[in-house]
């Protein structure tokens, strides 16, 4: 009897020890899994960061003009060979996808972490060249006086909104913020209807055009400046938020009178 009791106590102690061991082992596994997950996320961030850095270096070593959109810093910079040419403050950034009869058509193509190529203005900037036929040469000379050209503002009227269309159905829509409020009610309605008509046409009938569209709101002066001076065949790269190092790019303090930058995902008011 006594021997039997001792056996039961021993068995109970053994079971308790095993249970404790299992609990301890379980806790240990959780503790080990947490750092592994951290390392994995760190690796993912580093991989993306190095990938984007490599792409920036490739762009800087090329001869094409390129735009670098930094949603975290809230700006878009026109660059050439690593040099910052012009920087514009982004007041709002949205991602648009085509929708037909209330059914959104998500597009599987990759658009982040890649270089968008061959961006062209739509509507294009019209260049009217003046052709001058020189007078036949004489000893006295007859100086041909070409007309004084208009200012850039007169020469290149900026549409209320415009696109930069890239290869593979990627595009950006530049929208000057607050210009619509200055326009009359009829002008706003007309602009809204025209935009809606074109959007509906593109979404319904042209699958390859604007499959992914980034809508960028700029202040009107910047939007006009970008339209007037954007070089042809421009490229675009979107930086990631976890990329700490950008090429000689640091956010400027907001100028007096200029609206403060909103967060990159800030909504853009509709007209």
């Amino acid at each position: 009897m006594r021997h039997r009791r001792a056996l039961v106590v021993t068995a109970l102690l053994l079971a308790g020890a095993i249970a404790l061991g299992l609990v301890a082992a379980g806790c240990g596994t959780e503790k080990a899994a947490a750092p592994a997950a951290d390392v994995h996320s760190q690796i993912a961030r580093l991989q993306r960061s190095t990938n984007l850095l490599q792409r920036q270096i490739d762009l800087a070593n090329g001869k094409d003009f390129y735009l670098v959109l930094d949603p975290a810093a809230g700006d878009i910079t026109l660059m050439l060979m690593g040099a910052e040419l012009q920087r514009y403050q982004v007041l709002g950034l949205q991602v648009g996808q085509p929708r037909v009869a209330w059914m959104t058509r998500p597009d599987p193509r990759a658009w982040q972490d890649i270089v968008w190529a061959h961006g062209e203005l739509d509507p294009p900037r019209q260049i009217d060249r003046f052709v001058m036929q020189a007078a036949p040469p004489t000893k006295e000379g007859t100086e041909a006086t070409p007309p004084v050209p208009p200012t850039p503002e007169e020469m290149y009227p900026v549409p209320s909104r415009y696109h930069v269309r890239f290869d593979d159905g990627l595009s950006i829509e530049i929208r000057p913020l607050d210009t619509d409020t200055e326009a009359g009610r009829f002008a706003r309605l007309r602009a809204w209807f025209t935009a809606k008509w074109h959007d509906a046409k593109d979404a319904a009938f042209d699958r390859e055009r604007d499959a992914v569209r980034l809508r960028i709101a700029l202040n009107p002066k910047d939007a006009a400046s970008l339209y007037r001076s954007l070089p042809p065949a421009v490229r675009l790269l979107i930086l990631s938020g976890d990329q700490k190092t950008a090429p000689a790019v640091a956010p400027k303090p907001a100028e007096a009178g200029k609206p403060q930058a909103k967060s990159a995902g800030a909504p853009i008011p509709k007209n």
């Binding site: 070593n61 001869k63 959007d199």
Partner: protein, 276 residues
């Protein structure tokens, strides 16, 4: 439809055939209708409803209703066609490629990536121009003097007019006065530059092209200083400061006297010029 005396109700009840009522012939010998005995206005048959002043039969009503319904459906569909916008959200980073499985190897892998990231960052910074550089916006006719993120000068200039000049007689040559885009380096710095007028300058002025190179030289036209950056292009002064801000040059960049002095103060051989 006069009341019939034979009808017990005093009304002529005729079966409704659905078609239009045939006109009745007047009895023989009857007098022509006068104003007093003129027939009463014809009332609409039972199957025709009035919608305001417009008589509308059932078929027309059905077609109209269908059209309205179709238009409504198309309108609702059109309203929901276009682009749907969401705030920009960065897609979460995901591990790509083969990644080691053990903790130790993972940490080593991450360290290698970190090192690579630092190397690339340094490499990228090396692509940026060092010191002061010139940026020219040729469509808006602006010249900037920059150093890192600092803008030292923002001034008006005049870039190429884009004009096409055609020679009459001679070789029938043609010149396009565009400013080139791209990156250039300052090759020569010229104080009190003398302009060696090219052929087009004589063609434009309607003068014969001189055979003696000395006859091409003209001083004072290019201002106090000139920064030559290749292919006959320069940043120089101008006699026509009132035209600054407009595209009037033959491809060179014309700058006002005071601004040119600031550019000259920072200029050096090999200085980068970016024109867009």
């Amino acid at each position: 439809m006069d009341p019939s005396p034979n009808s017990p109700t005093g009304r002529d009840v005729t079966p409704d055939t659905g078609g239009p009522e045939p006109p009745r012939a007047a009895p023989p010998g009857a007098a022509p209708p006068t104003a007093a005995s003129a027939p009463l206005p014809v009332t609409a048959p039972a199957h025709v409803h009035r919608l305001g002043r417009l008589p509308l039969d059932r078929r027309t009503a059905a077609v109209a209703m269908s059209a309205v319904a179709v238009l409504l459906v198309v309108g609702i569909a059109w309203a929901g066609t276009g682009y749907h916008y969401d705030p920009y959200i960065e897609k979460p980073a995901a591990v790509t490629g083969n990644v080691p499985t053990t903790d130790r190897e993972l940490k080593q892998f991450a360290a290698r990536l970190d090192r690579r990231s630092r190397e690339l960052t340094a490499k990228l910074k090396a692509t940026a121009p060092r010191g002061v550089y010139i940026v020219i916006d040729q469509t808006q006719n602006r010249i900037y003097l920059k150093r890192d993120e600092e803008t030292l000068l923002d001034a008006r200039c005049s870039a190429g007019s884009g004009l096409v000049l055609k020679e009459t007689g001679g070789k029938n040559r043609q010149w396009v006065f565009d400013t080139p885009r791209g990156r250039f380096d300052v090759l020569t710095l010229l104080r009190n530059p003398v302009w060696a007028k090219p052929d087009w300058a004589f063609v434009e002025d309607g003068q014969p092209i001189p055979k003696n190179p000395a006859d091409r030289l003209e001083s004072g036209t290019l201002g106090e200083y000139a920064l030559y950056f290749g292919d006959g292009f320069m940043i120089h002064g101008t006699l026509y400061e009132r035209l600054l801000g407009r595209a009037v040059s033959h491809g060179c960049i014309r700058v006002g006297r005071d601004d040119l002095r600031k550019v000259w103060a920072n200029a050096r051989i090999g200085m980068r010029i970016y024109i867009y």
